[in-house]
Amino acid sequence: MNSISVRALLVRGMLAGLVAGVLALLVAHFLGESRVDAAIALEESHSHHHDGGEELVSRTMQSTAGLATGVLVFGVAIGGIAALVFCCALGRIGRFGPRATAALIAGAALLTVYVVPFLKYPANPPAVGNPDTIGRRTALFFLMVALSVLLAVAAVILGRRLAPRLGNWNATIAASAGYFLVIGLAYAFLPSFNEVGKDFPATLLWEFRLSTLAVQATLWVTFGLVFGHLTERLLVPGADAVTAGNSGAGRAATAAG
């Protein structure tokens, strides 16, 4: 019975991730693409050697179908992973219902998967970044994401251990402080990169980075709300009683078992 609900939650997570991906795609297209185009225009005006060869994928395809592929696949994948995290967290992180658990996971994921790594290794537009260091930059970026996620999981476990002694509020503060202390050490000791060209406009860089933040915020907030709504309907008896009357009772019995 449990494995049926894991499957049901996984399907809902991927669906919610797809919906979140669609909204994030709109933000990426309307906020982000003009900045990507501006950066590519700068890149081309500065490079003296022209390849002359044909583009493998045209700019039009990259900014529409290509962008959609990337963002939607990303949405479905993070939705699936977040649903698995939700399965583990539900009923284990305190007295939160499904909707609140989904919202907490989405908020924590935005912070730990994107914002914390972004503050150390921010997103770069085309024309920024030395191709020779891509290996090191990629490795350190994923290291930072992994470190942040593992530390967050450790902080949640630590918080739950401390809760009986300190109370929920103080245990949460202590565990969060531990998380940010170790993240601060990682910020201090991991190498940084400054590969922004001297003549690259600061405003364009700032606007590009803000739009990547808007994409991720849209993605995670939408995911949290949609997935929360779906799980509440699946798992809580009578959550949709107002609209569905007594029909929720049968589903509630199966979900509770």
């Binding site: 449990n2 290509g66 990337g70 990303f74 992973i81 891509i134 490795a139």
Partner: protein
Amino acid sequence: MAQTAAPATTAVPAITPISLKAIAPWAVFFGILMLVLLYFVGAEQGATAVISGEGVHEWVHDGRHLLGFPCH
């Protein structure tokens, strides 16, 4: 069972956690599948490559930049 003893309380009833044993097979299979998807969106043909050429990189180029991955 414990909850039914005090039906009048306004507190949210605790939810029974899903056993980790039930989650494990799903987590292993779908967790890896999702990570592979993320790899192809975020890193393939950048620092490392499973498929030769530039097709994947060029196709998801804009998504990679706007999702915050190091692209090139």
